[in-house]
């Protein structure tokens, strides 16, 4: 992952450096194709296979995610998008009978190795789910939960963190008088931002979003997208989405999965404008089942 002259790399014809803010380098992915990611990969998956029992759900996935970039993962239902991102914070361990091969490095360390503590990892790699899933507790307790289970006892610190996280999740203004109300009384969009706040409270470095807007109305969706764009200044973000416009709006890079294979990755504008693989093109133009 050296800084090389990106314009000389194959596939970089459409790339304009002016589109990218901050330092840019080339990140050779394992398909031998160069794509523009950040200066240094935050997360790299190498030769990842995944099995539910005997059923293989991921085939030899090689991909990198750049720090402070949004990467969208797209692909038809059942292609393994959720399976893949759930590996990044080891949520697959909650499903019995699963097995993986390969490695996923975060900052160079293999997070899938038994030596890596899953709870520690999940503090660094937060996750927001398809359906908002606040606990049946108060708004405050929901956000404070992660701190509490991680042994933070200082009341002031917790309070500070909760307020800070709610602000970052663009929820503070709407909710500052309702901290002691049940989180289940909030609207779906507010609940989802609360879940984002709950995830931010433990100071993650990476946030995984699995179709975060799937159950939300267009206005709430727009708010979440806007939020993702502000969050990317600080966090590395991976978002699974079925919505092509959403992928185009929020992401810097896009990865297209199909039946457990990673078909194509690259800059989002390039993928949408000039997909290299016929299957990618068929999918994004909607010619695909």
């Amino acid at each position: 992952m050296h800084n090389v002259d990106y314009e000389k790399q194959p596939g970089m014809e459409n790339f304009h450096p002016s589109l990218v803010k901050g330092p840019v380098g080339i990140n050779m992915n394992y398909m031998g194709e160069a794509d523009v990611f950040g200066p240094e990969a935050k997360i790299s998956a190498r030769k990842v296979n995944f099995y539910y029992g005997a059923k293989r759900a991921l085939n030899n996935i090689n991909i990198s995610f750049s720090p402070r970039r949004v990467t969208a993962i797209i692909g038809p239902s059942g292609c393994g998008k959720s399976t893949f991102i759930r590996l990044i914070n080891r949520m697959h361990e909650l499903v019995p009978g699963t097995r993986f091969e390969g490695e996923i490095l975060i900052d160079g360390l293999d997070i899938l190795s038994p030596a890596c503590d899953a709870a520690e990892l999940r503090k660094r790699v937060g996750m927001v789910f398809q359906k908002p899933n606040p606990f049946p507790k108060t708004v405050f307790e929901n956000v404070a939960y992660g701190l509490e289970v991680n042994g933070v006892t200082d009341k002031h610190l917790i309070e500070e963190k909760v307020v800070d996280s709610l602000k970052k999740a663009a929820l503070w203004g709407e909710i500052k008088d309702r901290l002691k109300d049940s989180a289940l009384g909030l609207s779906g969009g507010q609940q989802q931002r609360l879940c984002i706040a709950r995830c931010l409270a433990v100071s993650p470095e990476v946030i995984l979003f699995d179709e975060p807007c799937a159950s939300l109305d267009p206005i709430s969706t727009a708010k979440i997208e806007e939020l993702i764009l502000t969050l990317k200044k600080e966090y590395t973000i991976v978002i699974v989405t079925h919505n092509m416009q959403q992928a185009a709006r929020v992401s810097d890079n896009t990865a297209f999965f199909l039946m457990g294979d990673l078909i194509e990755t690259g800059r989002t504008d390039r993928i949408f404008k000039a997909p290299r693989d016929k299957r990618t093109e068929d999918y994004i133009t909607g010619r695909f089942g």
Binding site: L94, N133, F135, P136, Y145, C199, A201
Partner: protein, 294 residues
């Protein structure tokens, strides 16, 4: 023709469905009708708080406090047994048991629930009571402790299966959310799942109590039958159900004794009624809390 048939079927099922309501109202009416005359002879207060139950003496005394206390006493004892075992089993089944352990344990618990109460009573009389008598050197083995243990075992399946249902109603997504912020299994269980299932578990406990307090056959066989206010767990007792079952055959129809027994039944009915309403109320709030029915 077809339409008439359809209507007929509709009426038939409506009638069947409402027959439970008719039975309930019928039972309540009969209880009241047969119970009320006793309150012409004894005041409600003297009846409930009177300390002596000598229904066949001359003059008779109709104080049922010893019977009420006996019922509460053995029920409380049963709770000490069935709550830890029942809730513990539910937690084990839900959290720790693999598919194989579940496949064995769930049917076992269901079978425990279907053992006829006379079998429990028999077991209590022939095995448990002599054992306790020897162990604690009691004058008599048929006592509150024996009753509590047997009732506790009997109520355990009720508590376990309803508590397990409550745990399984807690959405998987709560568990995922908890793990996703770095909580471990124990924290997830104690801070998210048990609080979320808490009112469902309370419902399980109340229904277990309701089961214990209404049990008759076992209690008749092992409680010892003494209608005195219990002072220790080793005292023989005469809970309300046992009094009714034992005495109804001897009380002449329409006598004061007969009416008094109906009044006891009425009070027992009211107690279990309150338990069940409470259970229903709590479980409704529980479902609301989990966003299951809104």
């Amino acid at each position: 023709m077809n339409k008439r048939k359809e209507r007929l079927i509709k009426y038939l099922f409506t009638a069947l469905a409402f027959s439970s309501l008719v039975f309930l109202i019928g039972i309540v009416l009969v209880l009241f009708k047969e119970a009320l005359p006793i309150f012409g002879k004894v005041s409600l207060k003297a009846f409930l708080l009177g300390e002596s139950w000598y229904p066949t003496s001359e003059p008779p005394e109709f104080g049922i406090l010893p019977l009420i206390l006996a019922s509460l006493w053995v029920t409380l004892g049963a709770l000490v047994i069935c709550v830890p075992i029942g809730v513990g089993s539910a937690l084990y089944l839900h959290e720790l048991a693999g598919p194989r352990q579940r496949a064995i344990l769930k049917p076992v618990i269901e079978i425990l629930a279907s053992v006829p109460s006379i079998v429990y009573g028999f077991f209590g009389m022939v095995i448990l009571s002599p054992f306790l008598q020897d162990t604690f050197e009691l004058p008599i083995g048929l006592c509150a402790l024996t009753t509590s243990i047997i009732l506790g075992v009997m109520a355990t399946p009720t508590v376990a299966s309803i508590a397990e249902d409550a745990l399984s109603y807690v959405p998987r997504s709560f568990r995922e959310a908890s793990f996703a912020v770095g909580a471990d299994r124990w924290q997830t269980l104690t801070k998210v799942i048990i609080p979320a299932a808490g009112s469902g578990i309370s419902t399980a406990i109340i229904l277990g109590m309701s089961r214990a307090i209404g049990e008759t056959m076992t209690v008749l066989m092992v409680a010892g039958g003494a209608a005195v206010i219990p002072h220790s767990v080793f005292d023989p007792v005469r809970p309300m159900t046992a009094a009714i079952a034992a005495e109804m055959g001897e009380a002449p129809v329409g006598s004061d004794h007969y009416n008094a027994l109906f009044a006891i039944a009425l009070i027992l009915f009211l107690i279990t009624f309150v338990f069940n309403i409470a259970a229903e109320f709590i479980s409704r709030r529980f479902r609301l809390k989990l966003g299951l029915s809104r």
